[in-house]
Amino acid sequence: MTPQPRRLPFAHRSLLALAAISAVALTGCGSSDPLGGGASGSAGGGNDGGSAGEAIVIGSQQYYSNEIIAELYAQALEAEGFTVEREYQIGQREVYLPELESGAIDVLPEYSGNLLQYYDAESAASTPEEIHAALAEVLPENLRALEPAEATDQDSYNVTREFAEEHSLTTLADLQNVDEPLTVAANSEFETRPYGPEGLKEVYGVDVSLVPVEDSGGPLTVKALVDGDVQLADIYSADPSIQSQDLVTLKDPENLILPQNVTPIVSEAVDEDAAAVIEEVNAQLSAEELIDLNRQSVEDQSSSADLATAWLAEQGLA
């Protein structure tokens, strides 16, 4: 009795095929998979001394600029004799904040306004000082926010220089003078953000509609603006393309967009000496310095480690 090769019924076969295809499609966007975590740790270079218990674990968001800042802290700490471990490119807040709270990560560069909104969506704080004060109250017991840097990296409404001059625009309120319908290129979640189209209408009385472009203010968004497909684009304020494309960032006198000063969040494993080293780095990190670091990363493809080494030497910090 030879067993016949069993053929699956047709419907089963196509379902299997579909399952396989969807699996492939899902893994295709693995780097931003919200369910997978995606913590890709990089081995800490050359810290052979000290047990894991003593090492300060430095994390970063899955964002190149954030990794550069984390690396600045890491090398500054190493220069002062601390042992550090690097856990860079950890997805989003939902993933890394629990790690900070549990003590698995000790230092992570954060952005003040968004972090505050994560813990307290209702907060009325709107200036950098108010936000810093409010953060101290909402952060979990075992975490604290060190002194923020002057550098910020926040959403900003940008127009081309030509468009700004044609309609004499300097602030968001000036958009009221533009007669044509306005569109803004931004990620789709911009629609739901307090500083999105609804907020703009509420605070400045300006109507805009969203054109979703999903590269987080990256080259596609910039191109849409420069091509004139949209009149406005949401670009992170520390993005070097604002300078290189000669864009004009519209001022926000009413603080519609929360300031996002670079703020290190640290655990109890970071003592006063280590905190002082990190704050010293922050004190030198101006808005221009951060943009310049980002520019070198984007244009020259320099690694975060090389950038940090050069920058710290330049500032006399290492």
């Binding site: 290129a185 849409a224 497909d229």
Partner: protein, 227 residues
């Protein structure tokens, strides 16, 4: 399981179906993009594939080109074309066509190659012109395989058409991106479920078309062999 349940509820919520941003409108957009990509890819790949299959020439080139095209990461093509063509449908459509062409091209020439040479020779011996050999013998006999190629291309494109939303062109990908970025995983998973359902429906449709395309003579001959 809980998230899957919430995704199902999201899909069934009537308020998610209304208006130009509703599931119905997005699904039509999505299917429209898939259909357009398949039509454009077919216009390119079918004549080339038939020519390769009929003449036996250029097979190496066809295999190499379609193999290379298969290896292109679609998001990369979307971004690259987006940087050249700007936002809108042109960039993702190019990427979908690149995605669909290899399957269709391979199926078109493989369909001809699978035709029994004796049948083609017999047709010539009976006095059929080359055009008649092509249209009356090779095309009908190769059609089921070609439809198989269209079927796999359709599956690839309908799953990948979610990337249209990456450059502002809409489709069901809007739910995936918006859900992902706003931690609305019910929306994200719900959008994916709709894509899966459409893909299954499309696959069944092509399977039926593939069966219907088998010429009567072939079917009779197969039954004869089976008996």
């Amino acid at each position: 399981m809980n998230q899957l349940w919430e995704a199902l509820l999201w899909c069934l919520d009537p308020s998610n179906w209304q208006g130009p941003a509703g599931i119905g409108a997005r699904s039509l957009e999505h299917l429209g993009y898939t259909a357009l990509a398949l039509v454009i890819a077919s216009v390119i790949a079918v004549p080339v594939g038939w020519w390769v299959g009929h003449t036996g020439r250029g097979r190496g080139v066809a295999v190499a080109v379609s193999g290379a095209a298969r290896a292109l990461p679609t998001l990369g093509v979307v971004t690259l074309m987006g940087l050249m063509l700007g936002i809108g449908l042109a960039a993702p459509m190019t990427a979908f066509v690149v995605l669909a062409v290899p399957s269709i091209l391979a199926a078109a020439y493989a369909g001809f190659e699978a035709v029994d040479r004796q049948v083609v020779d017999a047709a010539r011996a009976q006095g059929l012109t080359e055009a008649q050999v092509l249209w009356r013998v090779e095309v009908p006999l190769g059609l089921p395989l070609l439809i198989g190629g269209l079927r796999s291309a359709a599956l690839q494109v309908i799953a990948t058409a979610t990337l249209a939303a990456y450059v502002g062109a809409g489709g069901l990908g809007r739910y995936l991106f918006l859900g992902l970025k706003t931690q609305d995983y019910a929306m994200m998973l719900g959008g994916s479920l709709i894509v899966v359902l459409l893909a299954i429906a499309l696959d069944l449709l092509f399977a039926a078309a593939g069966r219907a395309a088998v010429p009567r003579g072939v079917r009779v001959a197969r039954q004869g062999q089976a008996q």
